[in-house]
């Protein structure tokens, strides 16, 4: 949620403040609206203790701290606002919203879920809060609740095959692969031809090192969904896990022809050519990949290996260093 929107949401709260403090609060609000969090906090600090400790002022300070990314302190300031305002009131809801977000960003999933549940079905419950709430529910192993939340987010019936598919996809994103398989099996039982169910099951089989089953499932996906470039890409990649370099070429090429704007299959194809000792094609395809995805460190890393094998040590060193720079930039 953007800070600007959050400030506008504060406006109705002014009516709850003592009239004498309205001018100061308007000034603080104005500062927050223009992104001047430190100045807003400085203004709040100038107030006397009693005023500063009003739930509304604590709330505004919490909002400023949230906007600064200081989530722990934001929680400390927003908690009184949440606790001392009536359930359903605008300030209460906004405090719940900000507390939920702050806890989420700090990795406090159970606490985040508690507050995000407070705003369910309110005007503050956007796609973003639904996503975060669904993630928290999945992390808490509340599989059915997660599915209902994501179904609402995607405007799907909660018991539909598509809702099970979306829930499984979100589980995979959260590294909850073990729980995704039953969801996908339910989706398949409800609709055996739903696109991407076989694909995700195939990916999960490969993740569990059952490459043969993964290949079979990806082939089934392609039979249902022959225009799906990603399935060809993953099939080619699965063949590389089996060291079937020749068999990997065709699906990777098909993936590229269906979607020439995605670097993934180019990079895997470059690796295939590298393994086959075809350094010319490996260099060419990896350069094409990097032309469209210059920040892909795997691409640079593989191109470095191509140069190394070709005895072009200076070029190899440059590519290794490029990969390392990009890797450093992308690491948390």
């Amino acid at each position: 949620m953007t800070p600007l929107l959050l400030v506008f949401l504060v406006v109705p709260l002014l009516t709850q403040a003592p009239p004498a403090d309205n001018a100061g609060i308007v000034q603080i609000q104005s500062l927050l609206q223009t992104g001047k969090h430190d100045e807003a906090l400085a203004e709040i600090a100038k107030l006397d203790d009693a005023t500063r400790n009003l739930p509304l002022l604590k709330h505004l300070a919490g909002l400023a701290l949230y906007q600064k990314g200081n989530y722990q302190q934001a929680i400390e300031h927003l908690t009184p606002s949440f606790e001392q305002t009536p359930k359903g009131a605008a300030q209460h809801l906004q405090a719940a919203h900000l507390l939920g977000m702050s806890h989420y960003f700090l990795g406090h999933m159970p606490e985040a879920l508690r507050f995000l549940a407070e705003i369910e079905a309110s005007s503050l419950d956007t796609s973003e809060t639904q996503y975060l709430r669904g993630v928290c529910q999945l992390q808490a192993q509340q599989v059915d609740e997660g599915r209902k939340t994501f179904a609402r987010m995607f405007s799907l019936p909660a018991d539909s095959a598509a809702a099970h598919l979306i829930n499984a996809q979100m589980m995979i994103r959260q590294q909850l692969e073990e729980f995704a398989v039953p969801e996908l099996e339910k989706a398949m039982a409800l609709d055996p031809e739903l696109p991407e169910v076989h694909f995700l099951l195939g990916e999960l089989a490969i993740y569990k090192s059952d490459i043969d089953r993964g290949v079979e499932l990806l082939k089934q996906e392609i039979a249902l969904n022959p225009n799906f470039a990603m399935a060809y890409y993953r099939l080619g990649e699965a063949y590389t896990r089996q060291l079937k370099w020749d068999e990997a070429v065709s699906p990777l090429q098909k993936s590229i022809w269906l979607n020439p704007f995605f670097s993934g299959p180019f990079i895997v194809l470059g690796k295939v050519y590298l393994k086959k000792g075809d350094l010319t094609n490996a260099e060419s395809i990896l350069k094409r990949a990097l032309a469209m995805d210059v920040n892909n460190y795997s691409g640079h890393h593989l191109l470095a290996q191509v140069y190394q094998k070709a005895g072009r040590q200076d070029e190899a060193r440059k590519e290794f260093q490029a990969a390392e720079r990009l890797r450093s930039d992308s690491q948390p």
């Binding site: 999945l138 808490a140 192993q141 060291l243 390392e324």
Partner: protein, 566 residues
């Protein structure tokens, strides 16, 4: 051959390769009968609040009393809640080999008196006095123990010479891998010490309280991501029993941004100067190339030993070195976290490695893998792989059975064609018993001609697995063990490389001071010879670079070879 004394341990007349199509190895758990009954304390048993409780420690096989039989050193950790006055905090333990299959606990008289969170051990004769010393890293002060050589008299067997040697430190660091290495080839052992990360119990987040504190939805101990990294240390041996900190001048301390773990001395580029490889957790590994002038440069990236073949960082834990494909070059095997595969770096001989993991038959597992060895378990000349495992999040298995806290050991047979076969369930029930293990060491504790395994198990006694490849009723394949004694080189001969030829086949090994995970193997180099009853010729490249040629060597003996003095 000069200065060669032969100690014939056993002479086996029948030397045919048994079960040519099978893997003629089984392990028996002899822990109790060997007298290794004390648990190794390491953090909480079923819950781990902090990463400090999870990494565990190493073990060592070493001949401390010079009787020709390897003894045992086990390290230990602590508990977050500490220990009461009645129950003393545990220390490492020294077990003396009684030469009859049992060990005597001599910890009380050993002089070991440094409780705490121990990590790794490196073993070597740093003062060249003929007695094997050791260095242990800790979260906190590391310790150097000097072997006093007083094994036939009363008094402490070891003395803590940390401060006297100039290894005292200020502040709390988390020492991890460590190796004795004669980096400048001046005949004495220098010391490399890795540091894992900066950990402060007062400020460390608790389980679930941070973005790096969840694993598959389960609140778990946090890290290593999220903690600040530290730098590594290097100490030059002055030759007078003291060390000089040259971490910065040597370039060792300049490498940053790594969660460094096990270290290994290996001459990866065959230039006769020892290099240092360091497995790093969740970050690029380090390969310190010895520049032959007292400095090192990290070349892991261009040497292909930093990442997976696709350039992904892996959670490096344990390391083994050996020539898995028989090309005369030393390769590296490294263990990783769950849902990853170990890496087998094939040495190309051109100054870099290639990731041969999948080609060799390794794949993802559910296990967090730690200590490991490229050890020829069936003496068929091809080094096999033995790995111990154990999850760092005991809380997870309650929700996800696929990720058990305690795991069986993993054994892979080298098929001699560049591939390995998983034979974990074919080498006896003792290997199938689940443990949460960390370090492990390989050595022939009973001098019967096959490699046994000692493992560190979290909050359990260690496990001693006796290899039954050679048994009274079964001769097994032939073998040869070499005990090297440096005279002009460092006395422990750490860094020496031995090559043996049987017909066209060449076998190669290097003498290390740390391997596996935070552990030290039997310093005698053990070679399986298959059906060959002798080695046609051999070559020792001593740590100072001098090469000694060996003539025909008979199989099935432990040979003590002293470096020529002239």
């Amino acid at each position: 051959m000069t200065s060669v004394t032969s100690l014939l341990i056993c002479s086996l007349l029948t030397a045919n390769l048994l079960h040519a199509n099978g893997f003629n190895v089984s392990f028996t758990d002899v822990t109790k009968e060997a007298g290794l009954v004390e648990p190794i304390v390491y953090g909480g048993i079923d819950k781990k609040r902090y990463i400090i409780e999870t990494n565990g420690c190493g073990v060592a096989f070493a001949d401390f009393d010079n009787d020709g039989w390897v003894d045992i050193l086990t390290l230990t950790g602590s508990r977050l809640e500490g220990f009461s006055a009645e129950k003393q905090a545990p220390t490492g333990k020294v077990y003396l080999n009684q030469r009859n299959g049992t060990f005597k606990d001599v910890t009380v008289q050993s002089g070991l008196n440094s409780p705490g969170w121990a990590s790794a051990v490196t073993v070597g004769d740093y003062d060249n006095d003929g007695w094997t010393d050791f260095f242990i890293t800790y979260w906190g002060q590391n310790h150097l123990y000097r072997n006093r050589g007083q094994w036939k008299t009363s008094g402490p067997l070891f003395e803590d010479v940390t401060d006297r040697a100039g290894l005292g430190q200020t502040g709390t660091r988390w020492g991890s891998g460590c190796v004795f290495v004669d980096a400048d080839r001046d005949g004495d052992l220098d010391l490399f010490v890795a540091n894992y990360l900066k950990f402060d119990l007062q400020t460390a987040p608790t389980p679930g309280k941070g973005p790096n504190c969840l694993w598959k939805g389960v609140p778990v101990n946090c890290g290593p991501r999220g903690f600040p990294t530290d730098t590594n240390l290097f100490f030059r041996n002055r030759g007078d029993g003291t060390f000089e900190d040259v971490s910065q001048a040597s370039g060792i301390g300049r490498v940053q941004g790594k969660f460094a773990m096990t270290a290994l001395v290996t001459d990866y580029n065959n230039d006769s100067w020892p290099d240092i490889y360091v497995a790093c957790d969740s970050t690029a590994c380090i390969l310190y190339r010895n520049n032959r002038d007292g400095t090192f440069t990290d070349v892991a990236l261009e040497a292909g030993a930093a990442y997976s073949e696709d350039g992904q960082s892996q959670a490096g834990m344990g390391i083994a070195t050996g020539d898995y494909d028989g090309d005369g070059l030393l390769d590296i095997f490294k263990t990783h976290f769950a849902d990853d595969l170990p890496v087998l770096y094939r040495n190309t001989g051109e100054g870099y490695f290639e990731d041969a993991s999948r080609a060799a038959g390794f794949d993802h597992t559910r296990y967090v893998q730690w200590g490991t060895g490229l050890a020829d378990l069936d003496n068929d000349t091809w080094p096999d792989v033995f790995t111990v495992a154990g999850n760092v999040y005991p809380e997870v298995e309650a929700r996800l059975k696929e990720y058990p806290h305690r795991n069986p050991r993993l054994v892979y047979r080298n098929l001699g064609n560049g591939k390995f076969q998983d034979v974990s369930n074919q080498v006896g029930p003792a290997v199938q018993l689940p443990h949460s293990s960390r370090g492990c060491a390989f050595g022939d504790y009973d001098n019967d001609g096959d490699l046994d395994v000692l493992t560190m198990n979290m909050n359990e006694p260690p496990q001693l697995l006796r290899n039954e490849h050679i048994a009274p009723t079964r001769p097994g394949n032939n073998w040869l063990a070499l005990q090297l004694v440096g005279t002009r080189s460092n006395r422990s001969a750490i860094g020496a490389r031995v090559r043996l030829w049987i017909g066209q086949r060449v076998l190669v090994q290097e003498l290390t001071s740390q391997a596996s995970y935070y552990s030290a193997n039997d310093p005698r180099l053990h070679f399986g010879l298959g059906s060959a009853t002798s080695v046609d010729r051999g070559e020792i490249r001593w740590p100072n670079g001098n090469v000694q040629i060996l003539q025909t060597l008979q199989a099935n003996q432990i040979l003590k070879i002293e470096e020529p003095r002239d």
